[in-house]
């Protein structure tokens, strides 16, 4: 069978790329070894957001009910149900992707693919039969998997990766989280909300090290207040793993011994490369692509986690669309520059564009506009006064260089600022836009004003 395009991998890069190619009238096949939807739908973004919703609700009911005038007796939860709800959401969405394949007349082929020759992709079916399909264009969207720490393989019981952590039963009493990126922080928040004793160990000076430092520091205080022990500028020295649990020695300002039922390793990801073809890789082993997402082998393209950071579903989808439109239309593909990043603990963290730190390093002229949710009517009304909006505004033109939000619904609020950056809106356009009252988005409006000393409510 000869296709216009064969996509290897059915995750946010793969399935989105396949659909766009089909929309362009191309004959497309997508080969997936597990289940459509990739890490995001099955073992990442979606199921964890389901777990975090549970955590958020439980935290609210258990810790803050009295604020709202509620009283519960014997408030309890069903751990298995929490996990099965999360799995159910993933199942539903994976089915949705399969439906989209059908709707767009994409051949959805199950099996582990390898590129066996120029324009040839082989995969093994369920019946263990090897099939070969052909195409002039191949898009590798095989993604990435959690990276293990050297000499500390995950075992699903005591040493966990994120995949293990989201179906962990029973609930651990004590958990050590190695790595305070978005994944580490989200799981720390989740387990802590249900009463697990959580310690986060981070080598760098702050949690969420890629975020604006002011945001990270605010989040550290908040998480600490919620009961999470945070050890930053701290590295793992030694880990003893036994049937009962883990015992690790970490070294920060001082050396200290931590005990846990298990530890979660959340220190990044490694690429998942398809077999059969030698591609140029970068220093960290991710596929090297040019501005058109082309690899060094003619006719083979790659997009998503497999070409390196940022490892984000929305970036992967965007890259795949760029790659596909570059292949089949006159579109000149672009590489990712500005993208939003979100962390779904409470308070939520969301950002787009430059941090204050980065703007300083690049020697840019800028102003900072900040507005706290404690001065926002809606935030007070819903009982979420924590956090703030921080904008990095370029001088002299007032363009939005970066936006950083910590607080309730931060991840929803960031979209406006992403659009502002893409459209190169300046202070004046945001200032001139009426923001509905009462909403949390007024804090964005006020933060823009604050950059120029024009905030009304602060």
């Amino acid at each position: 069978m000869k296709y216009d395009l064969v996509v290897i991998g059915g995750g946010p890069a793969g399935y989105v790329g396949a659909i766009r190619a089909a929309q362009l009238g191309k004959k497309v096949a997508c080969v997936e070894k597990e289940r459509a939807g990739g890490t995001c739908l099955n073992w990442g973004c979606i199921p964890t957001k389901s777990l975090l919703r549970n955590a958020e609700l439980f935290h609210l009911l258990q810790k803050r009910a009295t604020d709202f005038g509620f009283k519960f007796e014997n408030l309890s939860f069903d751990w298995s149900k929490i996990i099965s709800r999360s799995r159910g959401v993933a199942d539903k969405l994976a089915g949705g992707v399969e439906f989209l394949f059908k709707k767009n007349k994409i051949d959805y082929l199950r099996g582990e693919a390898s590129i066996t020759g120029s324009g040839k992709v082989a995969y093994k079916t369920k019946e263990n039969r090897e099939e070969t399909i052909e195409s002039d264009n191949i898009l590798i969207a095989t993604g990435a998997v959690s990276r293990d720490l050297p000499g500390l393989a995950t075992n699903g019981k005591t040493v966990l990766n994120s995949h293990d952590a989201m179906i962990l039963e029973p609930q651990p009493k004590r958990l050590i989280v190695i790595g305070a990126g978005a994944i580490g922080v989200e799981f720390a928040y989740f387990f802590n909300a249900f009463g697990t004793e959580v310690t986060i160990v981070e080598m760098l000076p702050n949690v969420l090290p890629v975020e604006d430092t002011e945001i990270s520091v605010t989040l550290e205080k908040s998480l600490a207040k919620q009961g999470i022990k945070i050890l930053t500028s701290t590295k793992l020295v030694k880990a003893d793993i036994n049937d009962q649990g883990v015992s690790v020695i970490v070294e920060g300002k001082k050396q200290e011994k931590l005990e846990g039922d298990c530890m979660l390793v959340a220190v990044g990801v490694s690429p998942l490369l398809p077999g059969g073809v030698e591609l140029n890789l970068d220093k960290k082993g991710f596929i090297d692509v040019n501005d058109r997402y082309a690899t060094n082998v003619n006719g083979i393209y790659a997009a998503g986690d497999v070409i390196g950071p940022p490892w984000l579903a929305h970036v992967a989808s965007w890259e795949a669309i760029q790659a596909i439109e570059g292949m089949f239309t006159n579109h000149q593909p672009k590489r990712v520059r500005v993208f939003p990043g979100c962390t779904y603990c409470q308070p939520q963290v969301a950002s787009v564009g430059l941090t204050e730190r980065a703007a300083k390093e690049e020697g840019m002229k800028f102003k900072v506009g900040k507005f706290p949710f404690s001065a926002n009517g809606k935030a007070l009304a819903i009982g979420e006064p924590e956090g703030f909006v921080k904008l990095i505004v370029g001088e002299p033109h007032g363009e939005i260089l970066g936006a950083h939000i910590i607080g309730a619904e931060a991840t929803e609020l960031i979209a406006e600022l992403g659009l502002a950056i893409t459209l190169e809106a300046t202070f004046a356009e945001i200032e001139a836009t009426i923001h509905a009252h009462p909403t949390l988005s007024e804090a964005v409006h006020e933060a823009t004003g604050a950059a120029f000393g024009l905030a009304i409510h602060f």
Partner: protein
């Protein structure tokens, strides 16, 4: 088959043109008759239309650059066809399909387009390939607020840029890139928003103004005229009193009737036509081995425009009434000023009128507009003491007319006859209304 789009010869005298700006950009689908670009010739800025359909694959001459007539400006390819010569799609080339397949793709493409219309996501992608200037909707330039601010600062003309942002929007990078290549004169021309007094008064700088296409043509043609045509000059003073009186009463009537007013120039144009009809030797050209006497009076009239001057032509002026001539020149002059004249509207004149009366010039001799043989130079109406038929000194109104003639075509007597007719008609202007 790729088709090269070349600089068209848009006028007889055109040897090169300036590509003012591309309306279409690389990747755009082109239909026959689509306006591809604006081209400035020696006379006017014109729209260059597509004679073939396809996809604009490459652009060789960028906005603002000059190209000789016949020079390749861009490449048009069939839908689905790939460009041979590299460009930004190197990876695709080796997989180029057989011509048969290409044909098939081309046939299929309408289906793709139809499909596109139902798909909002595709729509977005299509938009992203359109030019920043909304050709259908007029002059709206799609530029980001930041790009606009920076453009204002750098003195970059947004209309001349191709946007690379979403939806073909002009973004910061486009302006900054253009700002680097913009000659400093533009930045100077643009007043800075907050002018600061310079610490040291800089020495006055001579300004070097590059020649526009029009300026080059004026230079070449008038040099040719003045150096190869043996000019001689005649002059007569005309009693403008009857003309002023008649015009006054006509305009008073026209005003109350809601009709257009007549200018002094309208009368002079009409009188020139009448004189040229009476003295056909003045409406002629030197043809090397013969003299061409024109059947029609194609009346050219010099119009000053921003970059120089144009001489739009009133066709078969001998068939037109003074009102028709008045309307024609009004329309032509206004379009000449906005550079909207078509070549046939400023080519093929047989005799020219140049009127500097509006500037207060009393008398002058214009240089002949080749290949014509006669040009009439019109001065302003001057009020002065004159001696009337009774030998008395009275206040009068006079116009001095000059006539420059090509002696190869027009001898002194013929020129004098022509000028005499002109004088007769202007001093008896009611004849011009017949």
């Amino acid at each position: 088959m790729p088709i090269a789009i070349e600089m068209p010869k848009l006028s007889d005298t055109m040897t090169e043109g300036t590509l003012v700006r591309w309306i279409k950009k690389v990747g755009d689908n082109i239909a026959v008759g689509d306006v591809l670009a604006e081209v400035e010739t020696d006379k006017a800025t014109m729209e260059m239309e597509a004679f073939d359909e396809g996809v604009l694959a490459e652009i060789y001459i960028q906005d603002g650059n000059k190209a000789e007539v016949g020079q390749k400006l861009a490449l048009l390819v069939g839908k689905g066809e790939k460009v041979e010569s590299g460009g930004p799609q190197p990876v695709q080339e080796s997989k180029s399909t057989t011509p048969k397949k290409e044909e098939k793709e081309a046939v299929e493409s309408p289906k793709e387009t139809a499909k596109t219309e139902t798909s909002p996501t595709k729509q977005v992608q299509q938009d992203s390939e359109s030019a920043p200037v909304d050709a259908a909707g007029g002059d709206r330039i799609k530029a980001s607020p930041l790009a606009k601010k920076i453009a204002a600062e750098l003195g970059v003309d947004l209309g001349s840029l191709q946007g690379t942002g979403p939806g073909g929007r002009i973004v910061r990078e486009d302006v900054v890139a253009a700002g680097k290549s913009t000659p400093p004169k533009q930045a100077v021309a643009q007043e800075p928003a907050t002018p600061k007094p310079p610490a040291v008064i800089p020495a006055l700088q001579d300004k070097k103004i590059p020649l526009s296409g029009m300026r080059k043509t004026i230079a070449a043609r008038l040099l040719e005229s003045k150096t190869t045509i043996p000019h001689f000059y005649l002059q007569a003073e005309i009693d403008a009193e009857p003309l002023a009186t008649l015009r006054h009463s006509i305009n008073a009537a026209a005003e109350s009737a809601g009709l257009g007013k007549l200018t002094v120039n309208d009368f002079i144009l009409k009188a020139t036509v009448a004189a040229a009809t009476r003295v056909p030797l003045a409406n002629a050209a030197f043809g090397g081995d013969s003299i061409i006497q024109f059947a029609n009076v194609q009346l050219a009239c010099a119009v000053a425009v921003e970059e120089g001057l144009v001489t739009p032509v009133i066709r078969e002026a001998q068939k037109k009434s003074i009102a028709q001539i008045s309307a024609a020149i009004k329309d032509l002059a206004s379009r000449a000023r906005s550079k909207k004249l078509k070549p046939e509207e400023y080519q093929g004149g047989t005799i020219t009128v140049s009127n500097l009366g509006a500037y207060g010039v009393e008398q002058f001799y214009a240089i002949i507009n080749p290949p014509q043989a006669v040009i009439v130079s019109v001065g302003t109406i001057v009020k002065k003491p004159v001696i009337n038929t009774a030998g008395q000194v009275v206040p009068g109104q006079r116009i001095i007319l000059g006539v420059s003639c090509d002696h190869r075509v027009v001898d002194g007597a013929v020129g004098a006859q022509f000028l005499g007719e002109l004088k007769k008609f202007l001093e008896n202007p009611t004849l011009l209304l017949l």
